[in-house]
Symmetry: C3
Subunit: 206 residues, 3 copies
């Protein structure tokens, strides 16, 4: 498996995890299976769609490669069926979700760099790709988006920090390499895990 194949597989795994968390967010909202699939798709692909439309980078990722759409649909259906019989382990979901966030944020940054975007736009795109899907999910289920909130465990901050490291080092080095990508992803992941475990918080707005 080459590095590009590995990243592609990991990206699809991120879609599967995000779609699953989207579907599980429907619990207690009296949604039917189609509503659950819609929530799964929106959570998994909403961030990337918003990024591609804003950057005018057509075709949008799931139109150019429908495998993204299929993975999101299937993951949501599986979550719908399985959640009647088993309890999804919350701890495992948190870890997978942190992995998805790492991948989405840094791959979003990479896409913006490839399109020659300025640094601040690259960082914006990393955050949008990582968190916008979850924000739309929260809106659709009638909640103030968790990532805006003080007790959101610095979800967006982790994407932000990783993207900043990625941008800074891509200037230090002659060009962004796979090692920089992997390092930035690792930073997002470790930072997110640390903030969950240690309960790190940014200053609160009163």
């Amino acid at each position: 498996m080459t590095y590009l194949e590995f990243v592609y597989a990991a990206d699809l795994a991120g879609v599967a995890v995000f779609a699953t968390t989207g579907a599980l967010a429907a619990q207690g909202k009296r949604l039917d299976i189609l509503g659950v699939v819609v929530l799964g798709i929106v959570t998994a692909l909403g961030g990337g769609t918003l990024r591609d439309i804003t950057l005018n980078a057509h075709p949008v990722l799931w139109i150019g490669d429908t495998l993204y759409l299929w993975v999101a649909i299937l993951s949501a259906v599986v979550a719908f069926v399985l959640s009647r019989y088993i309890q999804y382990p919350r701890r495992m979901l948190l870890i997978l979700d942190a992995l998805g966030l790492s991948l989405f944020a840094i791959l979003g940054a990479q896409k913006a760099v490839a399109l020659g975007m300025p640094d601040v736009v690259v960082v914006m795109m990393a955050v949008i790709t990582g968190v916008a899907g979850g924000m739309i999910r929260d809106l659709l289920t009638g909640q103030v988006p968790l990532i805006l909130q003080w007790n959101g465990e610095m979800y967006a901050s982790c994407a932000l920090v990783g993207a900043l490291v990625y941008v800074v080092f891509s200037h230090v080095m002659t060009e962004p390499t796979r090692w920089l990508e992997l390092s930035a992803m690792t930073i997002v992941f470790v930072f997110r895990m640390a903030s969950i475990v240690a309960g790190l918080r940014l200053p609160e707005f009163i």
Copy 2:
């Protein structure tokens, strides 16, 4: 009246109905007339706008043909004025709304097919065109979108089933014809009416 003229007239009628339901959704929310017009426009044209932007099919339908915009604005104003004097017959609105859903979903699918989109994207676009406007209307009026919910009477499912039939038969036949379009629209309509009358429901997510 040719077939294309018939479809165009029916599409505008769908816009009028959706704008009316959008305006009536404002009842009890203390909106002024401009707010009501905004809700009408968003409900009637939100789905098509989202579809055209995602597909990169510019100009967006109501920019390319402003008659869509005028019909939405006038319908919302008429609904605002009339609703002070008469009670809109709920049953008639439901039937007209089902007609609008049928047209929007299948015309949305047709547009995606014309752009050479893969099947799963065609079905997505049918559902988006049919239901996204209503979802944005629900968000703006502070409600969990009805179409996601178990008691939403399978609104999105009807669009989905019609689009699936349309896609499958467009492969069986050499190319999608007007008869296929009309049949798929009829399927959406009949399915929607049946689900209202018989109280059909998809399995609920607990």
Copy 3:
């Protein structure tokens, strides 16, 4: 300072004001600083982004000129820090906000005219540029958008009236000039101030 430099400076000032009101809307919602910055950015740049994407006018304003983004970010951070020590004077904010609305609405109309859009689309773009950011801010903080509401002090109406004047007179005159722009902005501003002071309201939808 040329007229174009003046308009550019004023536009950036509008971004700063809108970002500040967005950040202050976060008060009492328990957001952290990144959530506050997100709200500031969305409020200040959401309307222009939606306009540019709908018009297919890429690059989106803050991607083509990142100073817009920096001003929004810095204003939100300053609002976050300052609001711990001082009370923002509500009256001054209302006046600045009315100035921002005037600029955003008429500059939005001007952009649509420059792209050769039909009149009704020009007016739509003026309203979208002026109010969509505030609507997204309200959605994200879990409120029915104020501008849709009867007690919204005709926020959108002011943008609408100014845009109508701009469109009508741009046909009467051979081409829109800076004096027409300034006059239309003044109309939006005066109308907005009058509606706040005199408590003007449009008819309410019961």
